[in-house]
Each structure stands twice: as structure tokens, then as C-alpha cells.
């Protein structure tokens, strides 16, 4: 088996593409990103890696704008992401030029996924070591969230997480995502932050949150706004813990 996983991406005897699987491992080492599709907003949240003392804070941006109405967050190798983002941005404009319409989320996701797949079947190249969460609004004002992975597959999601501890975050979302919970912008943001807080050390300073609304207005939340929501979430958690204690005490009696 070991002879098949070097250099070019080739099949192993039992049908694995090890290079692609190793790329997925690289993704699992990246910092967590979460995406939630609400009723009339889409929210992307990422864990900000702690920066060295002398490093300027804002040089690492993990949430990128591909077009007026398309946002992307990624987990994995930042340098690989740069290449994909550059090509996706060009494709968004190219499409606008030839078709006279902005890209649909599905189209641009398909483009990014095809690009990734091409690199799993080319000589002398390795797959991209990133998973992407691509989100935004289609021309008909429908919110969408897509996820792509290094193999080049893509799926649409209501909410998803990628990167370190993605499984934990996804399980939290599976338990707590309901259409009622994402009816308003406020609730959707709260759900996204709450999901991230499951795996990120608390503090608004460690989170970066972007919201995109129906009218394609993008806004990055200020640290103070994030901290406000974090405070609310923590208070709720404490109250929950307190009531649980009371119940167990009364049961014990």
C-alpha cells in the first residue's frame, strides 16, 4: 500500500486515494470554521488562531469575499486557499461578463470543486489541502450554504463546520438547528457563535464572524458585538447548569 501514496495521486489496491485522504487530514488540523444558513441571513464564523506578540492582528483573514453576494471561509492550508480564492474571484467576474448575471452559489461551488478535482487527477500535482464553506444569496434572494472538500465533492448544507473539532460542532448544530432557531438574524448569529464556543476558548477576541444579508450587504462583527453575544450565551449556560443542579438536588432528596 505504501508504494501508492507518494508523488502522484494514484489508487491504492483497495480503492483509496491516499493523497486526498492525507489532504483531508491537513484540513482537520486547520482552525475551525462554522457556517449557518438562516431565514434571511447567512453567517460564517471562524476561530482566530492566536497570533505571536509582535505579529499584526489583521493579516490573516479566513473569511473572504468572492463577489458582492458570495462569501467563503476555509479550513486548512492558507496558501492553497489563496490560489483557489484568486481563481474563484476571476470566475465570478468572467461569468458576469459572458452571462450578464451574477454567479449562483451552486455554480461557483461547482467551479471550485471542479478545480479541486482536477488537482486530484493531474500529473505531478497534489490535491488542495482545504475545505471550503461557500455561502451567500442567489439572484432570487434564496440563502445558500455549500461545503467543498479536497476530493472535489460538494454538498449543500443548512449548517456545517470544518477544521479542528468539526465533528463536535456539527453534532451541536444537529441538536440545536431548527427553522425557529434561525428565523431572525440575531438568532442565527447566536447559534453560530454558540456552536463555535463549544470548541474555542471563550472570548470574542478569538472569533471572527461575518454576516451576509439578503441585499448582499456584508458585515463583519466588531469584537465588542461578538463579546456581547458571548456574554449572553455564557449567562444562559450558567443558568442552565444552575437549574440542572437544582433538579438533581431535588431528585436526590
Amino acid at each position: 500500500m505504501s508504494g501508492y501514496d507518494r508523488a502522484i495521486t494514484m489508487f491504492s489496491p483497495d480503492g483509496h486515494l491516499f493523497q486526498v485522504e492525507y489532504a483531508q487530514e491537513a484540513v482537520k488540523k486547520g482552525s475551525t470554521a462554522v457556517g449557518v444558513r438562516g431565514n434571511n441571513v447567512v453567517v460564517l464564523g471562524v476561530e482566530k488562531k492566536a497570533v505571536a506578540k509582535l505579529q499584526e492582528d489583521r493579516t490573516v483573514r479566513k473569511i473572504c469575499q468572492l463577489d458582492d453576494h458570495v462569501l467563503m471561509a476555509f479550513a486548512g492550508l492558507t496558501a492553497d486557499a489563496r490560489v483557489l480564492i484568486k481563481q474563484a474571484r476571476v470566475e465570478c467576474q468572467s461569468h458576469k461578463l459572458t452571462v450578464e448575471d451574477p454567479v449562483t452559489l451552486e455554480y461557483i461551488t461547482r467551479y471550485v470543486a471542479s478545480l479541486k478535482q482536477r488537482y486530484t487527477q493531474s500529473n505531478g500535482r497534489r490535491p488542495f489541502g482545504i475545505s471550503c464553506l461557500i455561502t451567500g444569496f442567489d439572484n432570487d434572494k434564496t440563502p445558500r450554504l455549500y461545503q467543498t472538500d479536497p476530493s472535489g465533492t460538494y454538498h449543500e448544507w443548512k449548517a456545517n463546520a470544518i477544521g479542528r473539532n468539526a465533528k463536535t460542532v456539527r453534532e451541536f448544530l444537529e441538536k440545536n438547528y431548527t427553522p425557529e432557531n434561525v428565523a431572525t438574524e440575531e438568532q442565527t448569529v447566536k447559534l453560530a457563535i454558540k456552536a463555535l464556543l463549544e470548541v474555542v476558548q471563550s472570548g470574542g477576541k478569538n472569533l471572527e464572524v461575518a454576516i451576509m444579508r439578503e441585499d448582499s450587504k456584508l458585515s463583519m462583527l466588531e469584537v465588542s458585538e461578538i463579546e456581547k453575544v458571548v456574554a449572553v450565551v455564557e449567562k444562559e449556560k450558567e443558568e442552565e447548569a444552575a437549574t440542572k443542579k437544582k433538579e438533581s438536588k431535588s431528585e436526590a432528596k
Binding site: 459572458t98 452571462v99 450578464e100 448575471d101 449562483t104 455554480y107
Partner: protein, 273 residues
């Protein structure tokens, strides 16, 4: 020198499983496999020099005229888009055909007209049909009129200056409603409410502009388009034959009428009494 060299015969490539018919196709009919990129004539400025390259037995130039000998028109109104065309094909003063179909059905929601070089229009509008269908399959929705007309105009621009002759209207119905674009071989692409293209367009415009309103009823629109083409066939030598009227509705296109212009002449004359 061997006979093979004199004849210009090339030994077939070794290991070639390609039959001689396929080989000829590859060499001389590249269009079958790559129909969106056709080979160019092997000299500079094909647009101007094509005629000069062709000389007859006495060494005289064969003039190749690409006048847009035709009349086509199209206009948007409350009921959708109306297209009306004549059906005469001329080569100089010779009438090649009196029953050419100058409206090309790209798909149920897209029509293209023909003016200029018949081969150029037909060929590239068929390539356009192929691209429109591929778009539908890839994106699971019908292509917009804007995008379809842009594909055609980008093709025309690609060959700009190389001798293509097309003056085409792309009409259709999409999410944005009725669409009408004028596209030509200079690379021009203009959206609009009312166009007429061809040598007889000057006559058609007169009648069209006099009677056009956005709130025409369907019957009034058919009559206006038909009359405008008829008047062009009357005065323009290069227009004639059958007057075809098509209506592009939200549900797709419908053929409204196909009447000989002679028949219309006597009909309109009788009305005057």
C-alpha cells in the same frame, strides 16, 4: 521522383486505426469535431482579400458581394416579441431561392433571424443552439436571452475582420420577460424594442415606426409586422417570397402565418378599395 511525391500523397501515420474516411474528415472537415472553432483561410485579411484570391479563367476577379439582401424585423410589445421575415435569397441579380427560412429556431424559447451570409447565420446559430443546450444541462435552468446573444456576439467578435457576414436578431423569453437583441458580424450587440435588418429594412422601418405601440393587441402586431415586410418586398428587389410571422410568447414561440407577398399585395390592394 516517386509518384507518391508528385501526387502529394502522404503515407498514413503508423499504428493509425483511423480509417481513410475519418482521416479525411479530420484533415478537411475539422468542423465535425470542433465546430466552435473553424479554420481560417490561409492568408491575411480574409475579409478584404477573399474575393481577390478567387480569380476566374481569364484572370478576372470574381466579385463576392455580401449585401444583406433581405428584410427582417422584430419588435417587443405587450404580448411578447414579434418577428417577421421575407424569404428571398439573392446572389447578385440572381434569385437563388424564394422560400428560405430566415427564422432559425434555436430552441423553444429562443429564435434567431438571418441576414447577410446565409451559411454564416445558419452555421453559427446552430453552434449557438448547441451552447444553449449545454448551458441548460450544466445549470439546470434555461439560458437567458442576454447570455445567448452574448455567446453569439463573442463568436462574431472572435472572427472580426475575417469576412463573416451576419446581421442577426436574437429574440426570446426568459425570467426577465421578452428579450430582443441585435447582433452582427462587427461584434455589435444591442438590446432594443424594435429592429429591422437588411436591404429592405429602410422600407420596413417606415411602416413599423408609423404603426408601432407597446400596447398593440396580438392581431394588430401580426398585421403590423406582416405589412412592414410586405412593403419592403414591394420596393426592395432583394426581398420577396414568403412573408413569415413568428410570435415569441411566455410559453414559447408560435408560427403565426406564412403567406406569399404576391397574395398580400392583392389583399392589401383590395382593402384600399
Amino acid at each position: 521522383p516517386p509518384l507518391a511525391d508528385i501526387c502529394g500523397f502522404q503515407t498514413p501515420k503508423p499504428g493509425g486505426l483511423v480509417s481513410s474516411l475519418d482521416h479525411d474528415n479530420e484533415e478537411y472537415c475539422g468542423n465535425f469535431s470542433a465546430n466552435s472553432t473553424i479554420s481560417l483561410p490561409p492568408f491575411a485579411n480574409p475579409g478584404t482579400n477573399l474575393g481577390r484570391v478567387l480569380k476566374d479563367e481569364s484572370g478576372n476577379d470574381i466579385p463576392m458581394n455580401f449585401d444583406h439582401g433581405t428584410t427582417t424585423l422584430g419588435f417587443k410589445y405587450q404580448g411578447g416579441v414579434l418577428l417577421a421575415v421575407d424569404s428571398r435569397a439573392t446572389g447578385g441579380m440572381y434569385i437563388g431561392s424564394g422560400s428560405v427560412k430566415k427564422i432559425i429556431e434555436i430552441n423553444r424559447y429562443l429564435l434567431g433571424t438571418m441576414a447577410g451570409g446565409a451559411a454564416d447565420c445558419t452555421y453559427w446559430e446552430r453552434v449557438l443552439s448547441k451552447q444553449c443546450r449545454l448551458y441548460e444541462l450544466r445549470n439546470r435552468e434555461r439560458i437567458s436571452v442576454a447570455a445567448a446573444s452574448k455567446i453569439l456576439s463573442n463568436i462574431a467578435y472572435n472572427y472580426k475582420g475575417m469576412g463573416l457576414s451576419m446581421g442577426v436578431m436574437v429574440a426570446g423569453y426568459d425570467k426577465r420577460g421578452p428579450g430582443l437583441y441585435y447582433v452582427d458580424s462587427d461584434g455589435e450587440r444591442t438590446p432594443g424594442n424594435c429592429f429591422s435588418v437588411g436591404s429592405g429594412s429602410i422600407y420596413a422601418y417606415g411602416v413599423l415606426d408609423a404603426g408601432y405601440r407597446h400596447d398593440l393587441t396580438d392581431e394588430e402586431a401580426y398585421d403590423l409586422g406582416r405589412r412592414a415586410i410586405y412593403h419592403a418586398t414591394f420596393r426592395d428587389a432583394a426581398s420577396g417570397g414568403i412573408v413569415r410571422v413568428y410570435h415569441m410568447k411566455p410559453t414559447g414561440f408560435e408560427v403565426i402565418s406564412e403567406q406569399d407577398c404576391k397574395e398580400l399585395h392583392y389583399m392589401y390592394a383590395a382593402e384600399k378599395q
